[in-house]
Amino acid sequence: MTDAALAPTSAPAADSLFRRNLREFRRNRLAVASALVVLLFVVMAVAAPLIAPQDPNATDLFRRLQPPAWIEGGDWAFPLGCDGLGRDILSRIIYGARISIFIGIAVILLATGVGILAGLAAGYFRGWVDVVIGRIVDILLGFPYLIFAIGLMAMMGPGLVNIVLALAYKEWVIPCRVVRGETLAVRELEYVEAARALGAGPRHIMWREILPNILSPVIVVSTIRMANVIILEASLSFLGLGVQPPTASWGSMVSDGRAFILESWWVSTFPGLAILLLVLAINVASQGLRDAFDPRFSE
């Protein structure tokens, strides 16, 4: 063959699809800013002991429902005021980030892991595997979410691990559906057939050929769902099934504080805003991810 056949292509050398997508993502300033906010929250969670001004669990009934610093009766040592037991709201928000983010990440990791396994199996093997998994999915979807969560929590008792399980039990259905759909599409593609023609077995095909190609929609969906999980944890708290005291989670803070909302609005409003901000940031960032990594989904 002549050299002419080797004329350079437009793409720069040694550039993976991943990096190209990342570059694309970086172009989206709002998304980058949001990703930074998320990062900030994560750092805050990790470094909580270093940055929290007060012990988050130290109660002081004399400071019960103390307003934020800028309001009459406030104190700059407790910038966002105190809750019903006189604990520093800011410090609890900082520590609460640990729980809320942990729950978000743990649930999504668990759900995505299970979802990928089930979805791959259903989409690749089809047949009865697909039917069985499909029915399980139907059953779970037909089961009202909160009822199941309440039942599960009542069954297992409260506790962080149980909250994660109660939230993950159905969450996996979503990645599962995505993975199954994508797998059904991808398994028909010629490169999968090519791998088979070369003698590759199902394991290789599922893990090496199919999975890498369906990961980006899964990641996109998972990040969006993470936002949802953080909100759902708050709902569980509302029903009295949240984390154990004195641990602070944003959800339990909002839900405990809602009783005071008419007179001491700050107790639930600040953690509520923290949820709002983090969830918003995750959503914006993941929409940016979606735009960059899976243009099919976006405009």
């Binding site: 009934l61 409260p158 009295g240 099934l241 004195p246 405990d256 008419l262």
Partner: protein, 486 residues
């Protein structure tokens, strides 16, 4: 005018003999009257009965007022009273089912109509508190029950109370209408006569913030279970005020006497000393509770001044060290979600005194499996809980929580002398003697400290200033017979 009550829970059923909830009774009680009732000071007074005579230790005669009409205009007779009481006390009297309210009637052996206007209740053994328990039962119309059946009674009302049922919007509201032919109610509680307002509506608002909001917005005129922290706001609001009444529910912490730490009375005393009750009452309960040093509320029969366990964390630490725990102990305290706040405040006080306490919030059903074990072995360290005493008689609070292996004895307390004393007091007819026996019992438990006795909170109501003639009552009933709306 419509008087609207923002109320926490809907009635489960409108059948006076087939429910177990206080909230249900509160609603029913405005449509059905009982043989007797209680006045604002919890004194039992005749209502449908004109007078009560104790004929013998086990026999009570009730003379029935004449001319009392049911809502449909029929006249009530002694037969209806007998029918009502039989329905409650005879096994299987409700279509094969036994009334869940049978337990409230004690050892009733039979109910007989001895004269056209007299009903006699015969007990199988003396039970001095029968009159105190009777306000919990309401008279139904025999012919009506036979017509609509037991199931029909769940949704239809034909009572003798000041209001008749207009409409029951399940889960939303119970709408009552004034019964114009009302005989007037207990003569001991003036004014007597038909109700003041045209209609009364129990509007169900379970979420307390929403209930308060509804009061402030003028949508409702009375709300129950006003949270203590909302008092200021209700008072600050122009048209509303706060009304309180001493409650009947005692709060306490059970310490597992079968457990590894609390088997030692020193540790139990240390716990009691570590807690600054008054501070919690002031700060969290807004001052709306009476501290207690024994199980009985200050208003209850037989209560008396007891030696106080003062707040003294240093002494608590010393006691702990004496008990062999100089470095303190690590324990958990179970409680229901509703009391999380208070429990946490207590836990942090205990922790300060070396009893490092973690609060575990559990669901009521599970906690009762764990703590109300009727003598079965217990696990866990502490249980922050409460026990109600609607009759204000020690009988239904002291015995269940302190008698060996009784249903509410969460501490696992076993004291044969106390058991004997309680059993004797239950059937003692001499009032003063009985009072003395309970004093003795209180002193006994005061020494053993199986529980940390905390307080009896007041019931707090938010009330529109338009409402007159209404007073909250200690049994947490909302009797709207005399309430008017300006």
């Amino acid at each position: 005018a419509d008087l609207i009550v923002g109320f926490t829970l809907d009635a489960d059923t409108l059948d006076p003999a087939n429910h177990r909830k206080r909230e249900t009774e509160t609603i029913i009680r405005n449509m059905y009257d009982g043989l007797v009732t209680r006045d604002a000071n919890m004194v039992v007074v005749p209502e449908i009965a004109e007078s009560i005579t104790q004929v013998s230790p086990t026999e009570y005669d009730f003379k029935i007022r004449s001319g009392i009409k049911f809502h449909d205009g029929s006249t009530m007779t002694a037969e209806d009273v007998k029918f009502t009481l039989d329905r409650i006390t005879v096994d299987g009297a409700m279509g094969g089912q036994t009334s869940p309210r049978k337990g409230l009637m004690g050892p009733v052996a039979s109910v007989d109509v001895t004269a056209p206007d007299t009903v006699r209740i015969t007990l199988s053994e003396p039970w001095p508190i029968l009159p105190a328990m009777l306000p919990n039962q309401q008279i139904v119309f025999k012919a009506f029950v036979e017509k609509v059946g037991d199931e029909g009674l769940a949704t239809q009302v034909n009572g003798t109370g000041p209001f008749k049922l207009a409409e029951w919007r399940k889960g939303d509201a119970v709408i009552l209408e004034r019964f114009d032919d009302y005989y007037g109610g207990a003569t001991d509680i003036p004014p007597v006569g038909p109700a003041c307002v045209d209609r009364v509506i129990f509007k169900i608002i379970p979420e307390s913030a929403s209930r308060v909001a509804a009061l402030l917005a003028g949508e409702v005129h009375i709300i129950n279970e006003l949270p203590a922290f909302s008092i200021k706001q209700v008072e600050a609001n122009d048209g509303t005020q706060v009304m309180t009444v001493n409650g009947t529910r005692s709060f306490f912490i059970a310490m597992n006497m079968e457990g590894e730490y609390f088997d030692d009375v020193k540790v139990r005393q240390a716990a009691a000393m570590a807690i600054d009750k008054q501070l919690i009452i002031d700060k969290i309960l807004g001052g709306n509770a009476a501290p207690i040093d024994g199980i009985l509320s200050p208003d209850a029969f037989g209560s008396s001044e007891l030696p106080k366990v003062g707040y003294d964390p240093e002494q608590a630490k010393a006691l702990l060290a004496e008990a062999g725990f100089p470095d303190g102990i690590d324990v958990t305290m179970d409680t229901e979600g509703a009391f999380k706040d208070t429990a946490e405040a207590i836990a942090s006080m205990l922790t300060n005194a070396g009893i490092r306490t973690t609060v575990t919030v559990g669901e009521g059903a599970q906690l009762s499996d764990k703590w109300r074990t009727k003598g079965a072995p217990k696990s866990g360290d502490m249980f922050f809980t409460s026990w109600g005493n609607g009759s204000l008689d020690p009988f239904d609070i002291f015995t269940p929580t302190h008698r060996t292996n009784d249903r509410g004895n969460s501490a696992g307390y076993a004291n044969a002398a106390l058991d004997a004393l309680l059993d004797a007091a239950a059937v003692e007819l001499d009032v003063d003697k009985r009072r003395g026996m309970y004093r003795e019992a209180e002193m006994m438990i005061n020494a053993d400290q199986p529980y940390v006795y905390l307080w009896v909170p007041k019931d707090i109501y938010g009330v529109s200033k338009r409402v007159t003639g209404w007073q909250p009552s200690a049994d947490s009933r909302i009797n709207l017979h005399d309430a008017c709306l300006n």
